[in-house]
């Protein structure tokens, strides 16, 4: 390019920039929420098979039903239980019955009034085997029945005290639906569940989208909502876009306004784009961690467990593969759980210490490949990986850990498996390492993951205690914590339990369960619920 041609080009370019910035300045900059408009939400999670989260009960159902169903209670960002459909609650001295005072001004969107009988019908629906609820059913384990004390007071009768009851009831899988609507056949209720929420399900075009329209009679936002009254948006188009790359392309093109299930590389790519904002909302419950199966050799020896953990260079792997989109965790619990205890010192990367521990444990020989050997047996561990649950970056992370633990003499066999085969391997106790996410509100998740009762498989073969911790003292602490309602004492017990788990080297914490959203910057007022980090579009408005 010659000099004479450059100048006009520069002038053209700079005038274009002036024009563009002029446009940007003229763009609407409202501070008052604007009413109206349709927001397009594109989810990368699976399309639910049923829009009623009582049936089954998974995360894809939770994110969409947050828009049209509501629970008895919620939580604020400080982790405190707050009023929602119930305004007050009291627990009897024996801990065996809870009275919930309900709002008296709420009506389901089919016109049915919200009463104590409705709450009783919902609990009965969740506990009915024909509903096939798994998540909600488990959460109501200790609830025997619900009775109406009066029209707006519901009494939960328990078989044993349950300090996690409020946490359980705050989850979207235990939302309250119209009892009249629940009477319909399940296929019908799955397509058009009826709740009290700010939006109403009006259509479901399978493999494409669910249409949600504003509930104009809405009165019952949770206590921490940003505004009162009805939602700002006219409607939501809830699209199913399974492919990560095209989902992000659709967001950049403005075809959609919000996307979820955002991968680390996409988060980094979006950082430079002023038209796109990022929400990082880790899920509650357990942190993402590698569990060491303590029921079989070689991890039945605590020294070998510690050696493995010392020789795994997690910090470098997390920063290089997740590009700083996730913080390293040193806790059994998610960072949003107030009861979480971190023990960074236990997880220092130290190959020398790992070697010393293995020598002491009798793994003194080495074979030609550099793997440790004891009594003619190689130090070999199987690590089945669920490709449905671990994102590609996480699988790469496991590969890096495989190579750093090799330095200490571990042979880690990574086996990528589909979900069914993965559960099959776990059910047969044919694994040494495993990584499985677990979402639940509150520290009671520790009881599910580390109580010896959880090593007994459910009828389906499922069990949650993959580290197979069987410690009567720990069981007693977890049982006690789940029964008492004194908050301080409860926290102390959970801290004690976590110390036992971390000091026993049963788990290698990685990071919080990741949950990222990207949205166009003219989408205002979107927040995630402090319960299970589902997005709520009640306060959301479009600045355009």
């Amino acid at each position: 390019m010659t000099r004479t041609r450059t100048l006009p080009l520069l002038i053209a370019a700079s005038s274009a920039i002036v024009l563009l910035s002029g446009c940007a300045a003229a763009a609407p900059q409202n501070t008052e929420p604007v009413k109206g408009g349709t927001l397009v939400y594109a989810t990368g999670d699976a399309e639910p098979s049923c829009l009623d989260p009582h049936v089954g009960g998974n995360f894809p159902q939770a994110i969409i039903s947050t828009q049209y169903l509501e629970s008895l209670v919620s939580k604020n960002v400080d982790g405190e239980v707050i009023a929602w459909l119930a305004t007050e609650w009291t627990v009897a001295d024996d801990g065996l019955s809870w009275d919930f005072t309900l709002r008296d001004d709420v009506t389901f969107t089919d016109g049915t009034p919200f009463t104590a009988d409705a709450v009783a019908a919902n609990v009965a629906h969740l506990k009915d085997p024909a509903t096939a609820s798994s998540t909600g059913y488990l959460a109501l384990d200790k609830v025997a029945s619900v009775e109406s004390v009066d029209e707006h007071t519901a009494r939960f009768n328990l078989t044993e005290p349950d300090s996690a009851l409020l946490d359980s009831l705050s989850q979207p899988w235990l939302a309250i639906e119209s009892p009249a609507a629940l009477q319909r056949p399940q296929e019908v209720n799955c397509e058009s569940p009826v709740g009290t929420g700010p939006f109403v399900v009006t259509g479901w075009n399978r493999q494409q989208s669910v249409t949600l329209e504003r509930n104009d009679d809405y009165v019952s936002p949770p206590a921490d909502a940003a505004h009162e009254g009805v939602a700002y948006l006219d409607a939501i188009e809830w699209r199913f876009l399974p492919d990560s790359a095209s989902r992000y392309a659709a967001l950049r093109a403005g075809t959609v306004d919000v996307i979820d299930s955002v991968q680390p590389d996409t988060i980094i790519a979006a950082e430079d784009d002023d038209a796109i904002e990022h929400i990082d909302a880790p899920r509650p419950g357990a942190s993402n961690r590698i569990e060491l199966n303590s029921s079989v050799a070689p991890f039945d020896d605590i020294a070998v467990r510690e050696a493995f953990i010392r020789s795994a260079n997690v910090d470098d792997a997390v920063s290089s593969l997740l590009f700083g989109t996730a913080d390293r965790s040193y806790s059994a619990l998610s960072s949003i759980e107030k009861a979480g205890v971190s023990e960074p010192d236990l997880f220092d990367y130290d190959q020398k210490e790992a070697a010393r521990l293995l020598d002491e444990a009798g793994w003194t020989e080495k074979d030609d490949d550099g793997y440790r050997v004891k009594n003619g047996k190689r130090l070999e561990v199987d690590f089945p990986v669920s490709t449905n649950q671990s994102i590609p970056a996480e699988v790469s992370l496991f590969e890096q850990l495989q190579s750093t633990t090799k330095e200490a003499g571990f042979k880690v066999n990574l086996e990528p498996l589909d979900l069914s085969s993965w559960y099959g391997v776990l059910g047969e106790n044919d694994y040494n390492l495993v990584s499985a996410p677990y979402t639940k509100v509150g520290p009671d998740v520790l009881r599910i993951l580390f109580h010896s009762d959880s090593t007994i498989p459910a009828p389906s073969g499922y069990f949650a205690n993959h580290a197979q911790v069987k410690d009567p003292a720990l069981d007693a602490v977890l049982d006690r914590a789940s029964e008492i309602t004194d908050e301080d004492e409860r926290q102390e017990l959970y801290a004690e339990a976590q110390k036992t788990i971390l000091d026993g080297y049963f788990i290698l914490p990685l990071y919080d369960q990741q949950n990222h959203y990207l949205l166009r910057s003219d989408v205002e007022g979107l927040r995630t619920m402090p319960t299970v980090a589902t997005p709520t579009l009640f306060d959301t408005w479009l600045d355009r």
């Binding site: 098979s49 049923c50 085997p129 096939a132 493999q207 093109a253 589909d418």
Partner: protein, 336 residues
């Protein structure tokens, strides 16, 4: 290509006049039908048993997939409801009996009848497949004609383009097309939207690799034909180069291409699994993918049967088309 499918009226008259021909056609048709029924039975049986051999309880698939923490009561209820508590042989016979009357059962995961799921998704996939096939033939023909008539440079470039196009995987092409035409140029939506604009990228993604294959075959056949004795004879009769090419050689080139259409249909359906997922289009391929992932046995078998049926239909039609384009096949049949 539609032009090459026209029937020679004199041939038809001859065919209608002969009784032996008729019975031969009938026998051919009956054999075909028998074959279709046999293949459908085999496909249904193999899929049925293959899906049962995979570890995992089908009742779990019904209750929200593997690892669901469903209670024993819920599992028992689901088993009884879907007849999974019966012996496998009984389940198989009941299944075949229902299949015989066209009842494909109901999907575990979608809680809808398989027939209605297929009814909803078959249309969009057929639209995608037919448009892609048409686009592929158009691209292939253009490339083949241009590269055989455009001189040495065109021939080299044409064959390179065909090889590259044929080798490109669908998922890579789809993402590249999105990057170029949607993200960079902003001409087309990156995911399916109602209307023609949403169809362009999915159709191109399926059509380009197919056009690569078809183009290679067509170019070979064209070159072959232009050098064959019948073209020499026509040239000797004083037929012009243009007429030679368009009237004689092109018809010759259509034969292998039509033969490939059956195969192309299969490749389009497998490509649809990828394309429908990336562009978030409604369709049979996407249903099949999610059904396999969630072990939704009735839906997997239903989709596989429909695809098998479609495949056989297309191969039968291409056989017929071959006979119409290439009179030699009919004459051979008569001599037999």
């Amino acid at each position: 290509m539609a032009g090459s499918l026209t029937l020679d009226p004199s041939q038809l008259a001859r065919a209608g006049g002969q009784r032996g021909r008729q019975s031969r056609w009938l026998r051919w048709l009956l054999l075909r039908l028998g074959g279709v029924v046999f293949v459908l039975w085999a496909v249904a049986s193999v899929t049925f048993f293959a899906l049962r051999l995979i570890p995992g309880d089908p009742a779990e698939a019904i209750l929200g997939g593997p690892g669901s923490q469903a209670s024993e009561e819920a599992l028992a209820q689901a088993r009884a409801h879907y007849g999974l508590d019966q012996p496998l042989a009984t389940q198989y016979l009941v299944y075949l009996g229902r299949l015989a009357i066209g009842d494909l059962g109901s999907s575990y995961a979608l809680r809808q009848s398989v027939v209605s799921v297929i009814g909803d998704t078959l249309g969009p996939t057929l639209v995608l497949a037919v448009l892609s096939l048409a686009a592929a033939v158009l691209i292939a023909l253009t490339l083949a004609v241009w590269s055989t008539r455009g001189g040495r440079g065109a021939a080299a470039l044409g064959s390179t383009l065909e090889i590259v196009a044929a080798a490109v995987p669908h998922f890579w092409l789809a993402i590249s097309l999105i990057l170029v035409f949607s993200t960079t140029l902003g001409w087309l939506p990156p995911v399916s939207v109602p209307g023609v604009a949403g169809l362009v990228l999915p159709v191109l993604t399926l059509a380009v690799p197919l056009a690569g294959f078809l183009g290679q075959v067509m170019r070979e056949a064209l070159l072959d034909a232009m050098e064959s004795p019948f073209v020499l004879a026509a040239r000797a009769r004083g037929e012009g180069e243009g007429g030679l090419f368009w009237r004689h050689a092109l018809r010759h080139a259509a034969i292998p291409a039509v033969g490939l259409v059956g195969w192309a249909f299969g490749s389009l359906i497998s490509g649809a699994v990828v394309v429908e997922t990336i562009f978030a289009r409604q369709g049979l391929g996407r249903s099949l993918l999610s059904a396999v992932q969630s072990r939704d046995v009735p839906l997997v078998i239903g989709v596989v049967l429909v695809v098998a049926l479609g495949y056989m239909l297309v191969t039968t039609l291409t056989d017929l088309a071959d006979r119409l384009i290439d009179p030699r096949l009919n004459r051979r049949a008569q001599q037999a």
